[in-house]
């Protein structure tokens, strides 16, 4: 398919744009203005309609910047967002996030709506309605938490997220007519919040972008170059590329009546894909990496255009092209014929293989040796797979092992394992040296996270000197808690940290949960007695875990690790379809940690204040000195070096001060993150006293 869609307009902003920090808004309620963050810490507003505006007052718009106005932010801009925010006001509001604060700015009236310090940093912004709240909410995602503010700057929502928030959208996720908050964070997760976490989706790398699509779907992009679409928990498709995505946008470029997904890539590629299948309809290239893709009526003709902005300030506009790119009839026919011929050929090949195979199986049933030379294996060859926990030996780390064996003398040449998120990359290949080829292979797996994983195994089976091998494909699911091995005898001491709650379920049901989610050599069954006790050992760090299920329904989980306890509770809760669970938790060490972090944070904040005034004071001195030096340059040249020397000393001091401040800031962020991580995990133990107590203390 040739490029049939051409840009309808191109222009140059002559500013370097930060990738990802581009938005479009109607500040006066009618005319859209592309707004972007420049690399110099400014926000530029491009208003093409200003060309026609009468110049009023003494402000003369120079020819070069007639259409561009800039806003000084004096800090590196980390997030940009715009939209209607004030009730009963159709003018769009611009929200600028920097590393320490968020500014909500009414561009049309040149006034602040509010300005707020965000000690947690601002990494992502989203405007929209949330839950059943009537007004628009501004969501601010920081280093480890999400805060929601209303238009008065009052905090109306708060939640902890495990790691740095990378992107947020507000959309109706579960088709209940109300918006949910979807947050992606640097711990590879996408979480859906309503009152509590609805769903957690895991990806293999950091999710960088989220975009709401029509029909309750959303698109995501991952920092390893993957783009995909989710419909609720189901991933419709994903593709991977060696570049990574900067911007996602849905727009009907082809005039099909429904939207397509437009993706802007870091290498300047723009492509348009079907939302349902991911099939590429259209591609174009810009000279530089994309900075953002937005949509707006930029030609004042009543229709919205797709506007692509590159990091170099180049702007290209595309519009809906009604004519589908039709290929002339002749070529279409030829293409079809060629395709059918190719298909025929491959089918013929396959048929031939089958014929060969059957021939050998029939004629030489008892001449096993001759198989080898022919690259054919006995028809009754089966692949046996066992997945077990291995507690390790002194020189081998404990791991989960996949044991693959054939049922006859054939050997396994190589094994390829596809699985998400347990290897670096997505594939793991085991190919023993030729001398050690056997009919069995065991593959150790070191799982970092407790997530259920689908493993696709492809084994090459043949004989030691075969040239061709047969491929066996098997899919297995690793249970969520695979990295825990069952211990036969009781531990002398139980870990003192525990979670306790009550479920009204038969123990048989709980056994089912255990068998589904753990990797034990034999299924656990409950025979009799007052309770069922499981003694587990964590293969990662050798910690001991004791699960006690009493017949009365009381469940006690003893685990040192708060996160693990939370995972267990969540998993059991979702298995038993529990909406609400009253639990009691006791994690003295975590509580102590959190207190220490709080104390540290307090100290850091105190120091920050002092450092801030130090810098401001020096800035004042610098100003005076610059003026004095300038004055001396005109009046008294001899004095000038003195002032400039002083200036240099001050400059050095200020740089030192800044380094200290940076260090202090990083420490603060670190502690904050840890606190929030603990809170987040604790909250997953569901509404227990510990969390409530903690939150009140924050």
């Amino acid at each position: 398919m040739d490029k049939l869609i051409r840009p309808v307009f191109t222009l140059d902003l002559n500013y370097k744009i930060e990738p990802g920090l581009v938005t479009i808004a109607k500040y006066d309620g009618t005319h859209p203005c592309v707004t972007a963050a420049t690399t110099a810490g400014k926000v530029l507003i491009h208003s093409p309609h200003r060309r026609n505006a009468v110049t009023t007052g003494r402000m003369i718009w120079s020819e070069s910047n007639k259409e561009i106005a800039t806003l000084n932010v004096n800090d590196s801009i980390t997030a940009l967002c715009s939209g209607q925010f004030l009730p009963d006001n159709d003018k769009d509001i611009l929200v600028i996030g920097t590393s320490t604060n968020v500014l909500v700015y009414h561009v049309h009236d040149n006034k602040d709506v509010f300005y707020m310090d965000c000690s947690d940093g601002v990494k992502s912004l989203a405007l929209g309605s949330f839950r059943d709240m009537k007004t628009t909410i501004l969501m601010v995602g920081g280093n480890s938490s999400v805060h929601g503010y209303n238009h008065k700057g009052e905090e109306v929502f708060w939640t902890a997220v495990g790691d740095v928030v990378t992107s947020m959208i507000l959309m109706d996720y579960n088709k209940d007519g109300l918006n949910e908050l979807i947050v992606s964070s640097e711990d590879y997760n996408i979480r859906v919040f309503k009152d509590k976490i609805l769903t957690e989706l895991s990806e293999t790398e950091v999710v960088t972008n989220l975009t709401a699509l029509p029909e309750n779907r959303f698109a995501y992009s991952v920092s390893n170059g993957t783009v995909g679409v989710y419909e609720q928990e189901v991933r419709l498709w994903r593709v991977k590329s060696k570049n990574f995505t900067i911007s996602l946008k849905c727009y009907d470029l082809l005039g099909q009546g429904n939207m397509q997904l437009i993706t802007g890539w870091s290498n300047g590629k723009i492509d348009c894909r079907s939302i349902k299948t991911g099939e590429v309809f259209f591609k174009d290239n810009m000279n530089h990496g994309l900075a953002g893709v937005v949509e707006g009526d930029y030609r004042s003709n009543g229709k919205t255009d797709l506007i692509c902005i590159s990091v170099d300030g180049e702007v290209k506009g595309y519009t809906t092209t009604k004519i589908m790119p039709t290929i002339p009839g002749v070529t279409m026919e030829q293409d079809t014929i060629r395709m059918l011929l190719a298909q025929k050929q491959s089918l013929m090949m396959e048929l031939k293989h089958y014929e060969n195979n059957t021939k050998y199986n029939e004629t030489v049933t008892n001449q096993t040796e001759s198989f080898e030379s022919q690259g054919v294996i006995p028809a009754n060859t089966r692949l046996q797979i066992a997945i077990n926990t291995n507690e390790g030996k002194p020189n081998v780390k404990p791991h989960v092992e996949i044991f693959i064996a054939t049922n006859n003398t054939t050997i396994i040449r190589a094994v390829m394992i596809f699985a998400e998120g347990i290897f670096k990359g997505e594939t793991h290949v085991v190919h023993p040296p030729a001398s050690q080829l056997k009919s069995e292979v065991s593959v150790p797996l070191y799982l970092l996270k407790d997530t259920p994983v689908d493993i696709h195994i492809k084994a090459l089976i043949g004989f030691p000197n075969s040239i061709q091998f047969h491929v066996f494909e098997v899919t297995r699911q690793l249970p969520r808690f695979a990295m825990y091995s069952l211990q036969r005898n009781n531990f002398p001491v139980k870990p003192k940290e525990f979670v306790e709650f009550r479920v009204n379920e038969r123990l048989q049901r709980i056994c089912m949960w255990i068998n589904q989610n753990f990797l034990f050599s034999s299924d656990v069954e409950f025979e009799s007695g007052p309770n069922l006790i499981l003694n587990l050992r964590n293969l990662r760090n050798n910690q001991e875990i004791v699960l006690i299920f009493e017949i009365s329904g009381k469940v006690t989980l003893h685990a040192e690790n708060l996160g693990l306890a939370a995972d267990l509770v969540q998993s059991l809760g979702s298995f038993l379809n529990l909406d609400n669970l009253e639990s009691k938790a006791n994690f003295p060490s975590e509580e102590e940690n959190i207190q220490n972090f709080m104390k540290k944070l307090q100290e850091i904040q105190d120091a920050r204040l002092r450092l801030g005034t130090d810098v401001a004071d020096r800035l004042g001195q610098i100003r005076t000195l610059v003026i004095r030096a300038e004055d001396a340059r005109l009046n008294d040249l001899k004095e000038m070096p003195k002032y400039y020397n002083e200036l240099m000393v001050l400059n050095k001091e200020i740089i030192n001060g800044n380094n200290i401040r940076l260090h202090n800031y990083n420490e603060g962020v670190e502690s904050m993150k840890k606190i929030n991580a603990i809170i987040q995990q604790a909250s997953r133990l569901r509404g227990n006293i510990f969390v409530v107590e903690l939150e009140s203390r924050l």
Binding site: A69, N110, Y115, R623
Partner: protein, 457 residues
């Protein structure tokens, strides 16, 4: 008899009667005898602070340092939403109001900030006037403090145990004011304020306002805004509203400032200070009608408010009602104001309302009272208008020459001089004057238009 009085009581009485020097002397003698007398110490601090206290809300130093200042957000805001890009009013009968190069009206009333000469801050700074945030006022206060203390400073700031005094309810506020106003030591004052707010668990709005003051003088505008907002949540105070409005003016967001003022007016119905602030902002935005509306409200509340009366007078003057303007200015005169500018305005009103007998008398007074050469120049410039009205071009030329002898950089005078010389047939001289006028104030459009007119001939 005085000798029998308790010295402490006497000092208090002197303080109340605002005889600070005497009060300080008595306090010093008490402290000589009892160096740890906290009451005397506190009173001495208060007296020393009061002696040099300047109302910073109405001070001349409007810290409008655009040099190296990056607090202003928008570089090219929409006209009417910024002090820099106010909408130009349409020309009315008496012609447009004279403006400075930056578009600010020249005439009106002298109020804080209007005395600044046109041009950028950098130009102003070349005149060796320190105008950074630690401004002239602070420096002057510092020297004032030094003069009076013969045997060393009263309080060694560097040796002060700030943490101890921050917790002392009786002393901390007085000490803060002393540090901030008398010593001009913003850093120490701020440290005290920070510790005091923490000690009072962020519940005392007064400390927040003081912190905001410190932040403003350190040029940390946003921090100041936060403090003031939080102070306003705890306690409504006229001063807080006004300070917050000032902050927004400094951020060049006049609409936010008016919003704050209006919310202040909702709580303090028809408060004169807030209304004054509002009308000043509207005037700066060239929205004279609204400005005058508020000035009229002020006059209803406070019939002696000379600023409001003068501004209403000016409004009428530029609205082709010099007779009405004359009445307002006479009211100001009757209230005891006695200045060159006022007589000048009266003279102009008389001229335009055809009361020629009083015109020259008024200008005579204005000239007598004018000490500042710039004011004198303006009076002569206005006198040239009187001469024009009388049809005496020679006199007009003389008036303008006198104006230029007082203020050689008066561009409009050069322009008018050029016109008269052209009328007298001295075209080349006219051209030279016009070029000078254009050089002096490139933004003035009249010399440019006149030059083009001469060129086209």
């Amino acid at each position: 008899m005085i000798m029998n009085m308790d010295p402490m009581f006497l000092a208090l009485s002197l303080f109340r009667r605002r005889r600070f020097d005497k009060c300080i002397d008595i306090c010093t003698s008490i402290l000589d005898k009892q160096p740890l007398d906290q009451a005397a110490w506190c009173l001495k601090m208060r007296a020393m602070t009061q002696r040099v206290y300047v109302d910073d809300m109405e001070s001349e130093q409007q810290m409008d340092n655009d040099f190296l200042d990056e607090n202003v957000l928008a570089s090219a805001p929409r006209p009417g939403t910024s002090m820099k890009t106010a909408v130009a009013p349409t020309a009315s009968g008496l012609g447009t109001r004279p403006r400075t190069a930056t578009g600010r009206p020249i005439s009106g009333v002298a109020r804080p900030g209007t005395n600044a000469r046109p041009g950028s801050a950098m130009d102003r700074l070349r005149t060796a006037r320190p105008a950074t945030n630690q401004s002239a006022r602070t420096i002057r206060l510092g020297t004032a403090a030094m003069l009076t203390q013969k045997d060393g400073p009263f309080i060694q700031v560097s040796r002060l145990n700030v943490a101890k005094y921050a917790k002392n309810k009786c002393l901390n506020k007085a000490l803060f004011e002393y540090l901030f106003n008398h010593e001009g030591d913003v850093r120490s004052a701020m440290e005290l304020a920070v510790q005091a707010t923490q000690f009072f668990e962020f519940k005392d709005w007064w400390w927040k306002v003081q912190l905001a003051k410190c932040y403003i003088s350190l040029n940390l505008i946003r921090e100041a805004e936060q403090q003031l907002r939080s102070a306003l949540k705890q306690h409504h105070h006229v001063e807080n509203f006004m300070r917050l409005a000032r902050i927004y003016l400094r951020l060049d967001q006049p609409l936010s400032a008016t919003e704050i003022c209006k919310s202040g007016l909702e709580i303090f119905n028809s408060d004169v200070s807030i209304m004054t602030e509002l009308s000043r902002i509207y005037e700066a935005l060239n929205d004279t009608a609204t400005s005058v509306k508020f000035y009229r409200n002020i006059v209803v509340e406070d019939a002696m408010n000379s600023e409001a009366i003068a501004c209403i007078g000016m409004y009428h003057f530029y609205n082709n009602q010099p007779e009405l303007a004359l009445r307002y200015y006479r009211r100001v005169l009757a209230m005891g104001a006695h200045s060159s500018e006022l007589y000048n305005n009266l003279g102009l009103c008389c001229l335009f309302s055809q009361q020629l007998d009083l015109t020259l008398a008024c200008f005579q007074r204005a000239l007598d009272l004018a000490t500042d050469p710039i004011v004198k120049a303006e009076v002569w410039y206005n006198l040239s208008h009187v001469a024009v009205a009388a049809g005496d071009i020679e006199l007009a030329i003389q008036c303008l020459s006198l104006c230029l002898s007082s203020d050689p950089s008066h561009a409009s005078a050069f322009n008018n001089l050029a016109i008269f010389h052209h009328k007298m047939g001295r075209t080349n001289l006219a051209r030279v004057y016009l070029t000078t006028a254009k050089q002096l104030e490139p933004n003035l459009w009249e010399p440019q238009a006149n030059l083009e007119f001469l060129q086209s001939k």
